[in-house]
Symmetry: C2
Amino acid sequence: MSLDAVLNQIDSDLTPAIDRLMELLRIPSISTDPAHKESCDKAAEWLVADLKSIGIAAEKRVTPGCPMVVGHVGEDGDGPHVLFYGHYDVQPVDPLNLWNRDPFDPAIEDTENGQVIRGRGSSDDKGQLMTFVEACRAWKAVHGKMPCRITFFFEGEEESGSPSLIPFLTENAAELKADLALVCDTSMVSRGVPSIASQLRGMLKDEFTIIGPRIDLHSGHYGGPGLNPLREISRIVASFYDEETGKVAVEGFYEGVHEVPEDQLRQWAGCGFDEAEYLNSVGYTRPHGEKGYSTLEQQWARPTLEVNGLWGGYNGAGSKTVIPSQAHCKITCRLVGDMDPDALRRKIRKHVEDRLSPDAKVVWDNDLEGSPASVMNISRPEFEAARTALSDEWNREAVFTGMGGSIPVVGYFKSILGLDAMLVGFANDDDAIHSPNEKYDVQSFHKGIRSWARILDALTK
Amino acid sequence: MSLDAVLNQIDSDLTPAIDRLMELLRIPSISTDPAHKESCDKAAEWLVADLKSIGIAAEKRVTPGCPMVVGHVGEDGDGPHVLFYGHYDVQPVDPLNLWNRDPFDPAIEDTENGQVIRGRGSSDDKGQLMTFVEACRAWKAVHGKMPCRITFFFEGEEESGSPSLIPFLTENAAELKADLALVCDTSMVSRGVPSIASQLRGMLKDEFTIIGPRIDLHSGHYGGPGLNPLREISRIVASFYDEETGKVAVEGFYEGVHEVPEDQLRQWAGCGFDEAEYLNSVGYTRPHGEKGYSTLEQQWARPTLEVNGLWGGYNGAGSKTVIPSQAHCKITCRLVGDMDPDALRRKIRKHVEDRLSPDAKVVWDNDLEGSPASVMNISRPEFEAARTALSDEWNREAVFTGMGGSIPVVGYFKSILGLDAMLVGFANDDDAIHSPNEKYDVQSFHKGIRSWARILDALTK
């Protein structure tokens, strides 16, 4: 009965809830770009005010980078103590010309799959974060209090490597201890299939610059005898891959990678993943990863080395007959199993250095971090309770899935706070997160809020 | 006697001559960048006014792009009729942060090799162009008239592919006819060695974009199954080259390429080219071109395929876990012998298209031109006269050299006006043309002016 009242309150409050999300989406909190530091502050302050408006003791906590938001409600004794995590920072928006509107002037748009909220951060992660906050708001409105003790923990550096996260968790470990972490930053395996992520890939970031001649050269005077860093970097990037097998060709790259057990493969096969939709929605006719592995394995259970940025020379209007002095490359690896980020970084750097031509130098960016893969403790009873709650809301059996993405905080919750995490998210693969025209389905937002209400109810029964 | 008077006049007028060049250098006439169109106009107007100040009937001639400057002096009958060509447009200046000063705020600087004029265009080609104009100014000051009939022809689109050149030459062929074209846009084979260029490499420009997914993708959600255009373009660029031989691996690339005759190789060996200076001055310890060919052959007599620009994905601060939708590449080839630009373009495009992965597309820029290599008619008596004049000025035997660069206008003078060209230039390899900190030695400027006075004297004797 009491749950139904909360669900009804959520339904009747949907429009104001979307308006609140829009307010948050209008703040351009791009954490990776120092020019937007003030906006990150503003987003944190908006969240503090919003939490306070539903009776949560919330504060902005200063860090050397973007601030954290921490809020507490409830006392020892009233049921389990959960810590909810989300991040209020967003990805950069370039290339701007590919957006159908100002990324920070969000709007409701009608699409063939129903209404969507269009704007940077609508799905990753402001919209998802607010599903939990709105569930708490509705619960408070109906019951005058929260269902259990809850700590809110919002980060503003997730999209820029979370430099302040480890020190902050370490310094505030006592305050942040709880029974279970809840995270809403993941997607559904396919439209309408409620999903709990049971494993995440880790991440390694690196960046290098190849330096050839001391200065840019004229391609007439030096074309021929001249070493061209763009040719050099192309050869080296190409050498990262074995085009026959689709594998990464860096020596020792696959150390610590395990094959997926048969029973898990069977379970994934039945989890409702729509391979055609996943591939075709972005213009692919087939998977392009390691031969001999399914699309789902390539995405969830196999490591990658991706080039995220490559640049050098002239890219303006017209042409310039130049041999540039430098060429640059940004890479990220997705890690699985027991792959060690630090060991992998050494292997990749050796691969590049071993292949440099005479007269070429490489310079590495040493400020980029790495984090291992993580596996959830799905044997805990809360996972079964959440699975039932999600199945009830979506009228579809909820499934345990892998995730291709990385959420480093999950590993730190375990290592620093001794906290297991449960990852429930409502994003869809076509949300275009990190891309132009990011959106979040109104259905994801609405049923996401209802799902959290059901999960809180189940956890506190 | 009369020549000495002109040379003395040049010496005493050097400082004002440098001031005049500085005025021209302050005009940022970057023709490849539409934003600088007005500056190109301004540079043309400055030249018209300067030519008029020494009694030359000069006009700015409008084209669809940057204007031409045409000036006439003298009548039929007074000796040979020469056409002097130079270009007033300059290369872009990026990367700006590598300049030691504002590229368009030129100044005299002291260096270990003597005084230099620092600034964009000081060497390529405003400084060289003005050596001839100043020689004419001095001749007029001493004699009250020019030594012979001279047509001045200055272009403003040389650094952006000369789109208006062929139509202009065709429409004005009658007006621009002469006995011989003089061009000052080349360099000396090494410091202090006067050089006449006897062959130039041709040029082919092309640009392509590799398109993978329909939109930028999240490297977590799509890393593995996703086709990455940056990986694709790196593999394709790497495939342009055979790293064993240093040759270009595009099928049929070397059709029309001829080996350099023994006697010419012998002459080049004695032409005073300083290989160590050429390589070490830009940070090379060795030549990086085709194995089995000397540095000079690689630069003057062998074709190249150079990547001038390569870009895609995120290149801002921090990192972005993106698989970009597109990757871009700008290339230029240097052509020798009888290589056909149009045929070569088809071979290169086929090479790329044959190597595309499924789900990858390529889009070509079809606005980029090509021009074949050219060989000068050094059997004409004017070449011997000029060689003697240059040897007298520099107290060093003048030499016939090849050139790695391309000056398409030379081919058009021949094909459209039936005009042979003589290329005499005073640039040095360390002038950093097309690079940050471009400079022109004051010695090049001063002795360049004197050299033209001697050549005009010799041609009119």
